[in-house]
């Protein structure tokens, strides 16, 4: 459990075009083997871009990349051809938000899973179908034999997401990336999928990076949380630390905005304003314009990263100070 599975160092992602967007700015992150990390952030915070960068899915012509990403010691920024294909889908796989779009409508789900297994493991079709059936059992799809012959549109949303997970895990990846996999689902189905993913993680022992905008979901799924804002990680720690003792004013604001135990009719402590557009690279704290604790120093330079504990960090000059009501 102590080996590092994934190491991201000083990652920069900039989209070029009519308007430049500095999507990721100096992001560093470490994931150990078998760990589940939630990347928590709002739209435009760069959490999905981070996942796509990890799979090298960004269009290369329109993207400037900087920094290093090492997966189990291999530099993935230099992978190409065969090595890249075996990395994608073999070592690392992804579960998307909308399984309706991510599954191919013209193949049965059995065929789709078997196809992936054959490609990566080089086994016969019959063996691959066995693996596919086993996977459907593992994601608790009832009457899996019959479901193998179903097309994606014949399944309900929750079932499709289970198939998507089976597909992602069929090749026994060592890292699973999940991009808001439960956002499109109903509440009673969402909790089923979350618990299933937790069980499967224990069973397969892979590392998981789970992108979400929902703190409640992050709490249910992950042991660690990294909070993103404006393409940076502004706070990281165990789920317990981040939820029980949030240090960054943004994290504190997000927790307050969750309305979990806000009394009815009281005014909400809303974070004013909206996130920056990131047309230029932030050279000061990007949260400063919305921050209730802002000082002059926050507007002059990027805040230094404080490390109040092992694997705990906060990028804030006033980390841990309470927000005045």
């Amino acid at each position: 459990m102590t080996n590092t599975l994934l190491q991201i160092e000083n990652l920069d992602v900039r989209f070029k075009g009519a308007r430049n967007v500095h999507a990721i700015n100096d992001l560093s992150l470490e994931l150990k083997q078998g760990e589940t990390l939630a990347l928590l952030g709002e739209s435009g915070s760069g959490k999905s871009v981070t996942l796509k960068t990890l799979l090298r899915l960004l269009p290369e012509k329109r993207t400037d990349l900087g920094g290093r990403i090492r997966f189990d010691g291999t530099d993935i920024m230099t992978l190409s051809g065969r090595a890249l294909r075996s990395y994608r889908g073999g070592d690392v796989s992804m579960v998307f938000q909308d399984p309706g779009l991510a599954l191919d409508p013209v193949y049965t789900i059995g065929q789709q899973i078997a196809e992936t297994v054959m490609r990566h493991k080089g086994i016969s079709r019959a063996d691959a179908m066995e693996v596919a059936l086993d996977m459907l059992h593992r994601v608790r799809i009832p009457s899996a034999e019959r479901r193998m012959k179903n097309y994606p549109h014949e399944l309900s949303g929750g079932m499709r997401q289970r198939v998507m997970i089976a597909l992602a895990l069929a090749c026994r990846p060592r890292l699973l990336l999940a991009d808001e996999p439960t956002t499109a689902l109903d509440a009673t189905v969402q909790i089923q999928i979350l618990l299933l993913m937790r069980e499967l993680q224990r069973e397969f022992g892979m590392g998981v990076i789970f992108v979400t905008h929902d703190i409640g979901v992050a709490v249910e799924i992950s042991e660690r949380i990294a909070v993103m804002y404006a393409g940076q990680i502004i706070e990281e720690g165990t789920t317990h630390e981040v939820i029980r003792n949030p240090q960054h004013p943004y994290t504190q604001g997000l927790l307050a905005a969750n309305l979990h135990d806000v009394a009815r009719g009281t005014r909400l402590d809303a974070i004013p304003g909206s996130p920056p557009a990131l047309e230029t690279r932030p050279d000061a704290c990007p949260f400063a314009p919305r921050c209730p604790l802002v000082m002059d120093a926050c507007r002059q330079a990027l805040p230094p990263t404080q490390r109040p504990g092992p694997r705990r960090r906060v990028a804030c000059l006033r980390a841990g100070e309470p927000i005045p009501a």
């Binding site: 709002e42 949303g157 009673t188 189905v189 905008h213 409640g216 709490v219 307050a256």
Partner: protein
């Protein structure tokens, strides 16, 4: 709502079934029972929250209320006047307005914000529509001087939803239907818009029907909560009562499906298995019996009726467990939580 208050809006036995066309000749092959016999009252100044999963008919109910979808059956009574009898659709639409979920799709991309807000007032022939629109824009926190001539794509999601709220208010409606109006917003922006909605409610004496899948949001804004399942109302009660004690097994499952927000005490068992059934051919009897952990033989055959839990109670539920004479083996006993 206490019994002495006269309701502002009454909905009686509202029904909408959508035909499913199929085959070469386009014949009707089935009916989606989107809304099937929904009734409720809303008192003036009250906020009624409607919750339920996809396919439960909450959005269809919203569209029926404002006449965007024609109802098959049922009455909509506003201020003692019944739609289609002594009230026209046009008159109804002056008093009931709606805010949609998708803030971008609900604004005409080629119209300036000011024109969009003023459109309704113009149509209804109210005086000084532009002045009205400007005042409302200022009121919802979008300075008219700066934003009046912008286009929707130049605004953020939160700003656009403010425009939609201003547009709904431009006709001085009595009731505003908010259909997942804050669901697409980021959490930090959602809180700002909720504060705004609460302020406007107090200032203009508005009555809200607040539809959402997020129970925390519904609890924050609502006075009463109505729970729908497959086109029917299964439970309706004041927020505090339902929060403390959910009578219907479905409501209870919905509540326990909420993430715990407690890293030391995470959810260990999903409250329900499987997805909500298809509303095309809803189960017989109680529609929830296929997923209900407490279902008895009577639930498969007899349809439970929505009624008060106890004599005179404001907590209404449609479940055989709460009807001592239903024939359910557990009926009338204290239901285990």
């Amino acid at each position: 709502m206490s019994a002495t208050d006269k309701p502002l809006l009454s909905v009686r036995d509202l029904k909408k079934h959508f035909p499913i066309k199929g085959g070469i000749l386009g014949r009707t092959q089935g009916m989606v029972q989107a809304v099937d016999g929904v009734s409720f009252d809303v008192a003036p100044g009250e906020t009624l929250g409607i919750v339920g999963e996809s396919g439960c008919g909450k959005s269809t109910t919203a569209k029926l209320l404002i006449g965007l979808t024609d109802r098959d059956e049922g009455d909509i009574v506003l201020n003692d006047r019944t739609l289609g009898r002594d009230m026209t659709l046009r008159a109804l639409r002056r008093d009931i307005q709606m805010v949609f979920q998708d803030s971008y799709a609900s604004l005409n991309p080629r119209m300036t914000i000011l024109d969009s807000v003023a459109f309704g007032a113009r149509v209804q022939g109210l005086d000084d529509p532009l002045g009205r629109a400007r005042r409302l824009m200022d009121r919802v926190g979008l300075a008219a001087d700066r934003f009046a001539h912008r286009y929707p794509h130049e605004l953020s999601g939160g700003q656009r939803q403010r425009v939609n709220i201003a547009r709904a208010l431009a006709m001085s409606p009595k009731v505003v239907v908010l259909d997942e109006a804050v669901s697409a917003l980021d959490k930090s922006v959602e809180a700002q818009v909720l504060n705004l909605l609460a302020d406007l409610r107090a200032e203009f004496g508005l009555t809200y029907i607040f539809i959402s899948h997020d129970l925390n949001v519904v609890r924050y804004i609502s006075d009463r909560i109505l729970v729908m399942y497959l086109g029917e109302v299964v439970e309706i009660a004041p927020v505090d009562q339902i929060w403390a004690d959910q009578a219907h097994p479905y409501t209870r499952s919905l509540f326990s499906a909420m993430p715990s927000m407690d890293p030391d005490n995470r959810t260990e068992k999903p409250p329900l298995a499987g997805d909500p059934p298809n509303p095309i051919d809803p189960p017989s009897g109680c529609r929830f019996h296929t997923r209900c952990p407490l279902a008895g033989p009577v639930c498969k055959t007899r349809h439970p009726v929505l009624g008060p839990r106890a004599q005179g109670s404001t907590h209404w539920v449609a479940c055989h467990l709460h009807d001592a004479h239903s024939g359910h083996p557990e009926a009338g006993k204290v239901v285990p939580a």
